[in-house]
């Protein structure tokens, strides 16, 4: 047939180029993920070993009077943790990036480095340092707050202040990341555009909202989705500062600590890998939902916008 002559030979090179990524990703990401989801459908059997139980673990986690409150508590705390980052860390990061990209600020490299430094510190160190700073016994927070007439509290020890305090510590640590991403996007804006706007009489305020912000919208989306994924996987800081028990009285318990505690066990509580895998499954669904909303609700609209432009 004439068509046969036109058909190209099998594109071997594409397979070869894709292979390393596909193999490594499958081996170290896809397979463990699928296996973890499989594990969540099993439960320890009375006769030893594990037996298939279908979605019973999920049912137990979502409806059982002892499991459900823990899941809801962790979920609620996780949302609060996320809101702190979304509406405090990211706007402040954007503000810092705008200041650092403007012409008026001097010593930009120093500020940029200082603000980014906590990001590369270990969680253990950050947790430890902040515990010391906030310690009612040895900490400097008491003297510092006294300047503003605020009475010191055991911030990490009270049920209603522990989570906000922890969120703010995390914001302090990670503000450098959105700042850097926004900064990179702002610097990439062509000067001609800004100059043209200035010639047309745009104020700095107008310049930002009418020119800069629309142009960095894709970065806003990326930062938001990174914050979402990072926060719903968060574990390290709570673990370092408040232990896997999310103390006091579960008030700082996130999905990550709930999972860790269940999977590995604590003190006299033995680990329960199947229920742990179930919690991991719920986390997977939540994060997947968030990412899908981003992909279809946000990124597509942006793409359409770009095509129209």
């Amino acid at each position: 047939m004439p068509m046969n002559k036109c058909r190209k030979s099998f594109p071997t090179h594409i397979v070869v180029f894709l292979a390393p990524a596909v193999i490594i990703y499958t081996l170290f990401m896809v397979y463990p993920l699928v296996d973890s989801l499989r594990l969540s459908l099993y439960a320890p059997a009375a006769a030893g070993g594990e037996a298939f139980v279908g979605f019973q673990n999920y049912e137990k986690l979502l409806t059982h009077e002892l499991w459900a409150p823990r899941l809801q508590g962790a979920l609620k705390n996780n949302f609060i943790f996320f809101l702190f980052h979304m509406f405090l860390q990211n706007p402040i990061g954007l503000l810092l990036a705008t200041l650092l990209s403007s012409q008026i600020v001097r010593g930009k490299a120093i500020f940029r480095t200082l603000i980014f430094t906590p990001t590369i510190l270990s969680f253990v160190l950050v947790g430890f340092i902040w515990r010391l700073i906030l310690s009612p016994l040895w900490g400097i927070s008491g003297d510092f707050l006294a300047i503003f007439g605020i009475e010191n509290q055991p911030w990490l020890g009270l049920e209603n202040t522990a989570l906000p305090t922890l969120s703010l510590i995390s914001v302090w640590q990670f503000i450098g990341i959105p700042m850097m991403l926004f900064l990179a996007a702002l610097i990439a804006i062509p000067d001609e555009l800004l100059e043209a706007a200035r010639v047309d009489g745009a104020t700095a305020w107008g310049l930002f909202w009418k020119i800069k912000f629309p142009l960095i919208l894709p970065t806003v989306g990326i930062v938001s989705v990174l914050t979402f994924v990072g926060n719903f996987n968060a574990f390290d800081l709570v673990y370092a500062a408040q232990s896997e028990l999310g103390q006091p009285n579960y008030s700082t318990d996130l999905l990550g600590t709930f999972f860790y505690r269940t999977f590995f066990g604590v003190q006299l509580q033995p680990g329960n890998p199947t229920m742990g895998a179930t919690i991991a499954g719920v986390m997977f669904v939540i994060i997947l939902t968030g990412v899908l909303i981003y992909m279809f609700g946000w990124q597509r609209r942006l793409l359409k916008l770009e095509i129209e432009l």
Binding site: L137, P154, S243, L245, N249, Q267, L268, M275
Partner: protein, 419 residues
């Protein structure tokens, strides 16, 4: 060519020699949560063992954070990378490890006859047919006090709860010291040093503990509830910001001479002897109003087991056998004052505070922590509930009745007495 051959021969000789040396020396690794004891193991206990068995090297390898021991050990056992000798937590955790085949049975270990049934009770199967750890020590709960502060304020060791609270009030009124050195941040401190420390006097030791197991006694009634109520009465005397104070914070509060009384247990003696430069005294948990008999928490705390997958079974058994000896019992009890041997050997306790702790065994009835045997097998975990809710009671976030009801509800969720 000849030179080359000679070199090869020499090389292969050196290599084979080193292989022989490596085979001769066996290295045993001990898994432990007691990082405080590292120096004593390295400088005293292991050299004493090597004096008799020079061919067995022993490496004491504790985890950095004692609270992480169980999780880390479980992961290492599962991965097959755990050490040869495993320090055993009491009751269910070790029992589970034995049932899972990670710990070897030690029924035929020579020297096990040096331990009575009570000593072994924390490390035997439910039917008593297998013993799987060599009992090392128990710890006794009580209260340390700063004798200098007591002398300065003219205070005396309290015998009853009323006297105890009056004493705390006197320290508070004076205003120079914190009455109690205690924090609730770590949660376990509230349960272990608070609830389980004073509790046995209210629930009558073994009577209450065994009652919980056979279902005749509840956490939200009588003794167990009264213990929560007694704990709640400590709240006014807790140090500033106690909700965020950790266990090391309370230790430092006491050893720096900033607090009068420290509710804790005998395991602190070693650390305090080296860190506190004031005279210390101890008193047993104060008695409730009208009570005649005293009860103490004399908790079987620590033992040593054999990793069933260890390649050095013989050497490890040699070490465990040595651990049943009079020599080890003496070394351990006196080098680690506050850890009392569980063996039947006659030991002279040198440290005066340790000796006083031990003397309570003769005056009071011993019991162990209520949640350790059987009751922590299910979910939610009884011990963890006690941690969380004891802290919540001291923080004022829960009333004693609410806390007690929640503990009992957690237990009722899975535990069927006698089932």
């Amino acid at each position: 060519m000849k030179k080359m051959a000679a070199l090869l021969i020499v090389l292969s000789l050196v290599l084979s020699l080193s292989v022989v040396i490596a085979q001769d020396k066996v290295t045993l690794t001990i898994e432990s949560w007691r990082n405080d004891d590292l120096v004593i193991w390295e400088d005293v206990i292991i050299p004493a063992f090597n004096a008799q068995y020079p061919d067995i090297e022993v490496l004491f390898s504790p985890v950095g954070d004692p609270a992480q021991y169980n999780a880390q050990l479980a992961a290492r056992l599962e991965a097959g990378t755990a050490g040869d000798l495993i320090t055993c937590r009491p009751f269910d955790l070790s029992l589970q490890q034995f049932n899972d085949g990670y710990l070897a049975s030690l029924n035929d270990l020579p020297g096990m006859e040096n331990f009575g049934d009570v000593a072994k009770s924390a490390w035997v199967t439910d039917d008593g047919s297998d013993v799987f750890c060599v009992p090392m020590a128990s710890v006794i709960h009580g209260f340390f006090y700063n004798a200098d502060i007591f002398a300065e304020l003219g205070l005396e060791e309290p015998a009853t709860e009323a006297e105890f609270l009056a004493l705390l009030q006197a320290v508070k009124d004076d205003g120079n010291y914190e009455p109690l050195a205690m924090g609730t941040n770590d949660q376990w401190e509230a349960a272990t040093m608070g609830y389980q420390n004073i509790g046995p006097n209210y629930w009558h030791g073994e009577e209450g503990r065994l009652g919980l197991i056979d279902g005749t006694v509840k956490y939200n009634e009588d003794g167990f509830l009264q213990a929560f109520e007694a704990l709640a009465r400590w709240t006014p005397y807790m140090p500033t910001g106690y909700q965020a104070l950790t266990y090391p914070d309370s230790q430092n509060l006491f050893t720096l001479g900033l607090a009068a009384v420290y509710p804790t247990g005998s395991w602190e003696i070693g650390v305090f002897n080296s860190q506190a430069d004031f005279a210390m005294g101890i008193f047993p948990p104060p008695l409730p109003e009208g009570a005649m008999d005293c009860y103490i928490s004399d908790h079987t705390d620590i033992a040593m087991g054999l990793n069933a997958a260890s390649p050095n079974q013989e050497a490890a058994r040699t070490f465990l056998e040595w651990m049943t000896s009079q020599e080890f019992a003496e070394l351990y009890t006196n080098q680690l004052p506050g850890f009392f041997t569980l063996s039947n050997h006659e030991i002279a306790v040198e440290d005066p505070i340790a000796a006083e702790f031990l003397s309570w065994r003769g005056e009071c009835n011993s019991t162990i922590r209520s949640a350790y045997q059987i009751l922590s097998r299910g979910e939610p975990n009884n011990e963890l509930d006690l941690w969380r809710l004891s802290a919540a009671v001291l923080n004022g976030d829960k009333t004693p009745q609410e806390a007690a009801d929640e503990v009992q509800a957690g237990l009722d969720a899975w535990y069927v007495p006698g089932g």
